[in-house]
């Protein structure tokens, strides 16, 4: 019974279940025991609530210290009321009359538990036997009540580990600083304190703690605490996590660069390469011994892939092996550095760091046709060993340098600024709205790639670890904002804009003007020819009296040059009987009754313009087809454009004809349905008056001195017949013929007939010639209009100098103070002199006193040679990055690098001529135990070929590799671009060029490149993360690409002179650079024979020889000896 009652009760309370309610009430009516049971249950429920409440009150009061609980009903009698609240109430109640106090209580609405708490507290105080309450000290109150509360509920997010909203609640100094929203606690004023607002959940944006609101008692504690001055004995610990600019002065990465002394002693002879000296010093320290040097075959394969990303051919290997001179390896290195393949390989390394892509990313991923120019510029820069500091400066401020530099360098320098523009780009149109996202990428990329500092972290707050402040970030932001950025195209604005020209501004302006002049000239010529043609053709008057009507096909609406809408046909039935205007023709136009907007339009190509003293003459023949049910009127309009400037209007129903005189319609005469009428108007633009007549030959109605449209501007080039007549309603059907407009008077009706004029032969010939010329010139004009006056780059140019305002939490609508454009404080804090500041920025980054740039790049070069940098975090030289394993070596290389004139090829020479570089990749258990990651270079680390090298190597070996440098990608033509987020750009272009020239798409990556862990173009990539996955293996086994390369490789193998053995050895050497062991050779020979035999059984296979060797080729191209470099 009880269960049933409680169930029903719950259904009513929680679900509002009407059926349950009825059932429950019925039960209670019928059964007295139900009433007893339920009453007790309800009372018990209250007891439970009350019990729970008291427990929580106790726990609050418990915190106060000394509480002695004596349960007296649900009263708690405290012997020593130590809780501040209790004392407070106690004091109040002693002051005021108990009656007033109770009144206060009774007036506090709805907040039952709070009320109960107060009630209980009053009861406590009133029944308390203690008259003198010792005031608890503020500190005690804090310690007992506030501190545990803060620890429990607040400090996880607002303490040492995390400072959400930049607020700390773990010390007085902490909360005194306030947070992102300002001051958090106003001592003495809880109602003004943001902390109280937050815990009371007053602002839906600020509900603290976010997971669960504090209880009312807890909130009361905080309020009391603040009300009494927010005593807080906790002082801040001295450890703060972020490094200050002061402290940075002692951090290794910021120490000024000095050339360290090379360790020289008996173990380190003077003749030794300094790199080896430094490495050896460390090896000794770590108790490691280097392995023997690599053999020559290994060395040439390693060096060739390292510098060019291609395998050495057997010829090249042979030449190196036979070169007995001392500097054989140095010569090899020089040969490789001279090869254009070097720039293609090492340029690609930089493109990783530069987050290069051929598309703009974001939703629609618009292609950037000019991006390849930046790519090729990078490759060229490496090939010609452009000083690295210039390389950097041009990428930051190339356009500015170009302006003041040599003319032949102009295009290159502007192209270089592609570094800034080719990041991931946001925005649906070329507007500043989403630029802050572009800048976030640029600032972060510049920081990481060039300085090894994660400046991007300071977008929302001071860097948590490094000496980079949010002001620093916005100092750079201003520089970016003072720049004009090429816009690649977006969902709203589907065309690129603001692409800088690759010719100087003056030249660009000149070329623009020349193009414009050409266009204007062509337009003029075409117009002149058209006019001549109009004059030659006797069947053309002004716009052509015939207006091309006779040549229209009957049975369908008239086509060009007429425009029609609605029910309308060319028909022989609409041929006017009048012949005083044109020779009698065969067809006219019949307009059916339709919408008012339906009708007929003709635009006179050579319309009439008002000339002082001249008049305009217009004529049209018409009739209403039959007595019509439609009461409405059609109209004739003559004026400029499609009702742009109205000259005259005439209108007719099937029975009445009216003209517009100024602002009013005037009925002129009656009409008989089915009768043809002719209308002529003589218009005088000087006086804005017109006259005319309408009727048949024998029955003309003349009208004079009528006003044209008051605002008519004197141009008549458009005739319209539609349904907006002087009477509302659907216009009747009507026939139209013989429309004419000219500057001389027409013949009067009754005169004539006008005979068709015959053209002289000479005129006909001239006409044909003119038509031909018009076509030529029109085509020429189109080509000229579509042509690009000068080449463009995807880059940046100077904009208007402006300082940025700090964006709080990185939100562009929460602006703080303006920040002047300047250098990072830790790097000098220099202010921008003039212009956007990019030239200054370029100089700050590359000046010799900058401790980072050279170190960062030198470390990258080391990493690209060895697989691992001296600093293992190549884009993070901050406090969270790894310190260098060989700090002196790093500094030595950096200093030498600068001294050499920032020559990258010099770095290669130093590094590759070292013994360290030339070590074998052999294993050594002892060394491995101490230094398994080879951090100290006891050997050369074997590495997998990266994506580009793998593909290039296969193409090279198969003979398919096209070494030509391709230019633009075959993107779809510009006028078809309509990419949106639902219809983004996507393409994969096949080619046999080197992989660095593949189209790199941002959003949907090239399938091969993605599979083999090429750099993700969405961010600056310092180090690729090679994976070994089954899908790669499947690609190697099954892809058409690998099969094709194998087949072509096989074709080459087949042409090798000699027997199978010779072919096999050649194949191995070409693919692996090694001569295999005899056992391997045998295995291969057996394999090929067996394969051949198998194939011969299947007589349908042609070229079985190549097929057999293809099989071996597939094995060679997909084995580890091919895919890895020792």
């Amino acid at each position: 019974m009880e269960e049933r009652l409680l169930n029903l009760l719950q259904k009513v309370r929680d679900d509002g279940d009407e059926a349950a309610r009825t059932e429950l009430n019925d039960l209670l009516r019928k059964h007295p025991e139900a009433r007893t049971i339920l009453s007790r249950s309800l009372v018990d429920e209250q007891a439970l609530v009350s019990h729970q409440r008291d427990e929580s009150i106790v726990s609050i009061l418990d915190g106060a210290g000394e509480v002695a609980k004596i349960q007296h009903s649900d009263l708690l009698v405290i012997q020593k009321p130590t809780c501040k609240t209790g004392v407070f109430i106690h004091k109040v109640s002693m002051k005021h009359e108990p009656r007033k106090w109770l009144q206060m209580l009774l007036q506090s609405p709805g907040n039952t538990s709070m009320w109960n708490f107060l009630v209980t507290a009053v009861a406590i105080c009133l029944t308390s036997t203690v008259t003198n309450c010792s005031a608890q000290s503020d500190e005690d109150f804090f310690e007992s009540n506030v501190r545990p509360l803060l620890v429990k509920h607040c400090q996880e997010c607002h303490g040492e580990k995390k400072q959400e909203g930049s607020l700390r609640l773990d010390s007085r100094d902490g909360w005194r600083r306030g947070g992102d929203r300002g001051q958090t606690i106003h001592p003495g004023q809880p109602e003004k304190s943001l902390l109280i607002e937050a815990v009371k959940y007053k602002d839906s944006d600020l509900e603290m703690p976010p997971s669960k609101q504090l209880t009312e008692q807890e909130i009361a504690v905080l309020e009391t605490w603040i009300k009494h001055g927010a005593t807080d004995p906790r002082t801040e610990s001295t450890t703060t996590t972020a490094m200050s600019v002061e402290e940075a002065k002692n951090f290794w990465a910021f120490l000024p660069l000095k050339l360290p002394t090379v360790p020289r002693d008996a173990d380190h002879p003077k003749s030794q390469n300094p790199i080896d000296a430094f490495v050896l010093a460390q090896l000794e320290k770590q108790k490691l011994t280097s392995v023997p040097p690599a053999d020559r075959r290994t060395l040439i394969r390693r060096a060739t892939f390292d510098l060019t990303g291609l395998p050495p051919t057997p010829l090249e290997i042979g030449a190196f092996l036979n070169d007995k001179s001392e500097d054989a390896f140095e010569s090899l290195v020089e040969r490789l550095l001279d090869s254009p393949a070097y720039g293609e390989r090492w340029g690609r390394h930089w493109l990783d760091v530069a987050r290069y892509a051929d598309t703009a990313g974001d939703g629609s991923d618009y292609p950037v046709r000019e991006a390849y120019k930046y790519r090729n510029w990078v490759i060229d820069a490496f090939n010609k060993d452009q000083p690295f500091n210039e390389f950097i400066r041009e990428q930051i401020a190339g356009d500015i340098l170009a302006r003041d530099g040599a003319a032949e360098e102009y295009a290159n320098r502007v192209t270089a600024t592609g570094f800034l523009a080719i990041g991931k780009r946001y925005g649906y149109k070329a507007s500043p709205t989403y630029q802050y996202l572009d800048f976030a990428d640029v600032i972060d990329s510049v920081g990481r790639s060039m300085l090894g500092l994660s400046i991007g972290c300071a977008r929302c707050h001071d860097h948590k670890y490094d000496p980079v402040s949010a002001e620093d970030y916005y100092a750079l932001y201003g520089i970016m904002q003072s720049t004009t950025w090429a816009f690649p195209g977006g969902e709203e604005q589907k065309r690129p804009a603001h692409f800088p020209p690759l010719v100087p501004a003056k030249e660009a302006a000149r070329l623009d003007q020349a193009k414009q002049e050409t266009l204007t000239r062509l337009d003029r010529e075409i117009a002149g020819l058209k006019r001549e043609r109009a004059e030659l053709n006797p069947n053309f008057l002004t716009g052509g009296a015939d207006l091309g009507l006779e040549s229209q096909k009957p049975g369908q609406p008239p086509g060009q040059p007429w425009v029609s809408a609605g029910p309308i046909d060319v028909t022989t039935e609409a041929q006017s009987p009048f012949d005083h205007i044109h020779p009698k023709g065969k067809v006219g136009v019949r307009l059916g009754s339709g919408q008012p907007t339906d009708g007929l339009r003709y635009v006179f190509e050579n319309g009439l313009k008002a000339t002082p003293g001249s008049q305009m003459h217009f004529t049209v023949d018409f009739r209403t087809v039959a007595a019509s049910e439609q009461k409405g009127a059609f109209r004739f309009y003559l004026g400029r454009g499609v009702i742009q400037s109205l000259a005259v209007q005439c209108s007719a129903t099937s029975t009445e004809f009216a003209i517009r005189n100024g602002a009013k319609w005037e009925t002129i005469r009656k009409l008989t349905p089915g009768t043809w009428y002719t209308l002529q108007l003589t218009i005088d633009p000087d006086t804005k008056m017109y006259s005319g007549f309408v009727g048949t030959a024998n029955d003309l109605t003349v009208f004079n001195n009528k006003r044209t449209g008051a605002n008519w501007d004197g141009v008549a080039d458009c005739f319209i017949c539609d349904g907006f007549g002087f009477v509302e309603g659907a216009a009747c059907a009507r026939d139209i013929d013989n429309v004419g407009l000219q500057s001389v008077a027409f013949n009067a009706p009754g005169t004539g007939p006008v005979l068709p004029r015959i053209m002289e032969t000479a005129s006909t010939e001239r006409l044909t010639k003119i038509d031909g010329e018009i076509n030529n010139l029109t085509a020429k004009r189109q080509t000229t209009a579509a042509s690009i006056a000068y080449p463009l780059a995807y880059g940046v140019t100077e904009g208007s100098p402006v300082n940025a305002r700090l964006q709080k939490r990185g939100e562009p609508d929460r602006l703080g103070d303006e920040v002047p454009r300047r250098n990072l404080e830790v790097l000098g804090g220099d202010l921008v002199a003039k212009g956007s500041g990019r030239l200054d920025l370029a100089n700050w980054i590359t000046r010799p006193s900058n401790p980072l740039t050279a170190r960062v790049f030198v470390n990258r070069v080391w990493q690209w040679h060895f697989g691992r940098g001296l600093v293992a975090t190549p884009s993070d030289f901050g406090t969270r990055g790894e310190p260098p394993t060989h700090p002196e070596l790093l500094d030595w290389l950096a200093a030498k690098f600068i001294a050499s004139g920032w020559s990258v090829k010099s770095l290669h020479r130093w590094i590759m001529s070292s013994k360290t570089y030339q070590l074998a990749s052999a294993d050594d258990q002892g060394n491995f135990a101490i230094d398994p990651n080879n951090r100290f270079h006891w050997r050369y680390a074997r590495r997998p070929l990266d994506a580009e090298s793998t593909r290039d190597a296969m193409l090279a070996v198969s003979g398919n590799l096209d070494r030509k440098v391709p230019l633009a990608h075959p993107f779809p033509p510009l006028d078809t671009w309509g990419f949106t987020i639902h219809n983004p750009f996507h393409a994969v272009y096949d080619s046999d060029h080197r992989s660095v020239y593949l189209m790199v798409q941002r959003n949907q990556r090239h399938p091969y490149l993605a599979l083999f862990d090429a750099a993700d173009p969405n961010q600056s990539v310092a180090k690729r993360q090679p994976t070994t996955t089954p899908t790669q293996a499947l690609f190697l086994m099954n892809s058409p690409f690998v099969h094709e390369q194998s087949q072509n490789f096989a074709k080459r193998i087949v042409t090798v002179t000699g027997d199978d053995r010779a072919k096999t050895l050649w194949a191995f050497e070409t693919a692996h650079g090694q001569i295999p062991e005899e056992a391997e050779v045998q295995e291969a020979l057996n394999f090929v024979s067996a394969y051949r035999q198998q194939l011969s059984k299947d007589s349908s296979k042609n070229d079985q020889e190549a097929a057999a060797w293809s099989a071996l080729a597939r094995v060679l191209l997909t084995s580890n000896q091919f895919l890895y470099v020792d």
């Binding site: 509002g16 007790r40 019990h51």
Partner: protein, 170 residues
Amino acid sequence: MLPPSDETRFIEALTRHQPALEAFCHANRQDAREVLQATCVKLWQKSVDWDPDTEFLPWAFTVARFTILSHYRDQKRDRLVFDEDVIQAMAGDTEEAASAFDERREALALCFGKLDQLAKTLLHDHYTVSQSLREIAKASGRSLSAVKMNLLRIRQQLSACIEREMRTNP
């Protein structure tokens, strides 16, 4: 109004018997607080009628009954659980149970202590923190009906226990 000493006694009595009053007013959970408030206001206004030497609760219950009924007449809402006549019928039983509130309360305290921790937590969340059963279900990942059943069982347990206590230790 009352002479000061009487007044103090009234206040004492009123505050002391709050829970019992609340229990009595708890015919309809939704309105209980308002009804209780209205009752207390009424009691205060009529405080002169109470003889401090007599029992407080029976007098208070009378006032409460009238307040509840007039409250219902004033605002007939569809969230009421009980019909008017049912309330009248139940009044006697409610009074009786509410009178024994203090004893039941003490028994409850003992019985509560015998519950396991999970049960205590559930009761705490629902009755002290005022989380709805739906919220509790969501937070614990159990289904709503499972939580409902659980609560029901616990209350039945407590009920039975209280009855036992009342009988054995009156």
